[in-house]
Each structure stands twice: as C-alpha cells, then as structure tokens.
C-alpha cells in the first residue's frame, strides 16, 4: 500500500509531470511537490510524486555504508 518507487522527471506541465520509470513513461500529479524540476528523481506513490529524492543525501548514505564496512573503527558513526 505504501509502495513508492523512484521516477525521473522528464517534463512538467502545470500540476502534472511526465516521469520515466525503467523506460516506461507516466503522467503523474506534482501537487504535493511544487518544488520539483526536470531532471529530478521523485518517489512515485499512487500516481503522485510524494517527494524529491535528495541526490546529495543518497551519495552521503552510500559513502557512509562503504566507510562503515571498510574496517576503520575511527570511521564509525560519523556525524552521530
């Protein structure tokens, strides 16, 4: 029910946007994400973009995980 998947925003038309999910295009509502721009990724839930995915935070999380498993105990819990 709470399933939401990442989708790439290709075009914006008022309160709607055309997004692409694994090569498939869909028209979705961006009523809940007025800040969205072409080229952003959004989480798509029941035909609505419910957020704009934060690309910088995504990189930070991946970096954090790599650091966590690299064995350097000093690198544990950065920012905690």
């Amino acid at each position: 029910m709470c399933l939401a998947i990442p989708a790439l925003v290709k075009a914006i038309d008022g309160q709607q946007a055309d997004v692409e999910i694994e090569g498939v295009s869909r028209r979705v509502s961006i009523w809940l994400t007025p800040e969205v721009k072409v080229g952003d990724y959004v989480l798509l839930h029941t035909g609505y973009a419910i957020n704009v995915i934060d690309a910088a935070e995504a990189e930070i999380t991946l970096g954090l995980m790599r650091e966590m498993v690299s064995g350097s105990e000093a690198g544990e819990q950065p920012g905690a």
């Binding site: 035909g47 954090l64 498993v69």
Partner: protein, 364 residues
C-alpha cells in the same frame, strides 16, 4: 533503477551483516512496523543472517490488514447501492469483510473498479456524471495526502458526484497503543519509510523519550534495512535511544510540509477501529465539516449488519506482534493466497502472504 539498485549490493550487504554481528551483543527485539519492510527482510533472508540475539517482529504496518471488518462492510454496503461506482486500490478487493468481499459484490453485479490513483477515480466521476463515484480511502499518512488532493480538485472543479469513504489510519497513535498495551516488549523499532516521507521523523520522538526504545527510519532496499538495524544496534548497545534516519535521501525530520498541509486542510483526526487492536483515539482521519459533501458516510445512509471475524484467524495477534503466521493453525492449510481467510493473507504487505510466498518459517 537509480536510487534502488545501489542499495541492493550483495557484497556491501554481507559486510554490513558482519558489522552488525560484531557490534551486537545484547538481546534485541526489533519490530519492523511496515509490511513493506517485512517483505524486504523475508525476501532477502535478513532474519536468518542476523545474529541469534536479534529478533525481528512484524508490526501492524499494512493498511489493508488493519481495516476493521465493520469498515469493510461499509464499503461493501456502498457497492450494493444503486447508481454507485466503487473505486478502490486493487488490494482491497479480495479482503473478506464479515459476510462478503468487494470482489464478491462485484461478481453480484456491483460496479467495483480498481484504480491506480485517485486521479483515475476523479476521471471516472467526470465521465459518469449520473453516477455517484465513491473512492475507498484506505492508507496511512503516505496515501492520505493524495486522497486529500482529489477532494480539493473535486471541490475546485465542482465535481458533485465524487465521494470518499475515509478509512485512513495514522501510524504514531497505533505505535503508542502497542507500547502502552505492554503485550510486546521491544528494544527497537524500524520506523516506516514512506509514511515518514510525509510526516518526517519527528512524530516518533516520544518513543525513545517516553519508552526508552531505539528508533530509526528505514528505506525499503536491503541495504536501507541493514543500515537501520545497525543504527538500532548501536543505540541499544550504548543505551542511547533516539530517532535516527537511515533513509535520508527521502526522509527529513520535518517531512513534506505541503502534503501535511493538504492532509490537514481536508481531514481531521478521529478515533479509528483497527482490526485485532481495537479503537484508538486520534488514529483515523475524518473528512472535515467544510468538505462534508464529499464524505461518503454523510452522503449515503448505510445499514450495516453486526460485524463478525473469521473463525480461527489470528490476524489480530499477528498485527500486534504477539504471534507470527507460523503460530496460526489455518496458515498454509485452509488459509492460502488463493483462499484467504484473513486480510494478512490477502495484502501483498500482509505477514501471512509474505511468509507464504517466500516460504518463511519452513526452517521450524
């Protein structure tokens, strides 16, 4: 898919499991609130890979599963009214109510249509001005704003034949109810991911503060869940319960302000009945007085027979984290995805359906 595939890296997953094994010593009972998280955990065998001191319990985070029989009976009664078109997300159709399901009502000539979005339901209302189009509003905070938008759009366009049966449920109140019941002792909670996209992580702050229980919000890929469990383990080992976010690419402390505003504009909190749990104050959403003409409960006079629960079904206990599907005598015998007895076997996010599909519990 970007923002998904990177979080399925098996090598990184193995190393995260190793790290959790190294760092976890204390017994830790963790509840994954969401059915979506149960899917990730069971599908990737995460429960079996974790050290023996970590126990994972499924929570009530499946909106279809927690819809009370009496509420489902209302939807079915609406479907049987002349001139009514029911629109619903697909997973509600096969859920057994007290006497029938929406699927059965459809077979008996009721006009029940599966939609992907409230946008589709609105379109059906535009195309069928002589009919009353009712959307069955089931969902948590993730979904409620999308249903609120449809009401605002109907109001703006002057669509008079669109109605919502609001059966929405809110997550923090049920978490509090579970913790207050004292039935389940927990050390940590894997907090809902997509609910938190809307609400932010702040609404969970009462949990570490008042109950001393660790919290972290997780995404739905395996590495998201492992990162969350690693955070919970650190909190438990260091005895520093707090709310962390393991899903920062999509969740902030504040959430989606616009979505929260829209939800607040259309709905107001009300008591709600949860299957197997009971009535929880402030855990539902009623249509506000200002939008009452879109409220199916106000617009239609419904006569509902007294509700009843399926005999022998322990969905309620499973939703409270007290039992697992393996404890149910009906599981895999009389209750299967083809012939579900209770809602947890119907919904893709129901514990019973997930255990069935991935063969979880065969090791016992």
């Amino acid at each position: 898919m970007k923002y998904a595939a990177e979080y399925r890296n098996a090598e990184l997953g193995k190393q995260l499991i190793e790290r959790i094994r190294r760092r976890s010593g204390k017994p830790a009972r963790l509840m994954e609130f969401c059915g979506g998280h149960t899917i990730t955990i069971v599908k990737h065998g995460i429960r079996q890979l974790l050290p023996d001191n970590i126990e994972m319990l499924s929570g009530p985070g499946c909106p279809v599963c927690v819809t009370a029989s009496a509420d489902l009976d209302k939807a079915i009664a609406l479907a049987r009214l002349p001139g009514v078109i029911i629109t619903s997300f697909g997973d509600m159709l096969r859920v057994p109510g007290s006497y029938a399901s929406l699927q059965q009502a459809k077979a008996e000539d009721a006009d029940v249509r599966i939609v992907y979005s409230t946008q589709d339901a609105l379109q059906i209302a535009r195309e069928n001005p002589a009919k009353s189009v009712v959307f069955i509003g089931v969902g948590f905070e993730t979904t409620a704003p999308t249903i609120a938008v449809s009401v605002l759009e109907a109001a703006r366009e002057g669509i008079e034949n669109y109605f919502v049966l609001s059966l929405h449920k809110l997550c923090p109140p049920v978490m509090k109810a579970l913790l207050d019941s004292g039935e389940v002792r927990l050390d940590g909670i894997v907090c809902p991911g997509h609910v938190s996209v809307i609400t932010g992580s702040r609404p969970y702050e009462f949990i570490p503060r008042d109950y001393g229980i660790a919290c972290a919000v997780a995404g739905f890929e395996p590495l998201d869940v492992l990162l969350c469990i690693d955070m919970l383990v650190a909190q438990i080992e260091n005895n520093t319960p707090k709310v962390e976010i393991a899903y920062r690419r999509s969740v902030s402390p504040e959430g989606n302000r616009r979505a929260l505003e829209v939800m607040e504009q259309v709905f107001t909190p009300c008591p709600a009945d949860w299957r197997g749990i009971g009535t929880i104050p402030g855990s539902g959403l009623a249509v506000r007085e200002e939008f009452r003409r879109f409220d199916a409960e106000q617009a239609f006079k419904l006569e509902i027979p007294p509700p009843r629960e399926p005999k022998g079904c322990i969905c309620g206990d499973i939703l409270r984290g007290v039992k697992t599907p393996i404890d149910c005598r009906l599981f895999r015998r009389t209750c299967t995805p083809e012939h579900p007895v209770g809602p947890c076997m119907v919904s893709a996010e129901g514990s019973c359906a997930i255990y069935y599909q991935y063969g979880e519990g065969h090791e016992r």
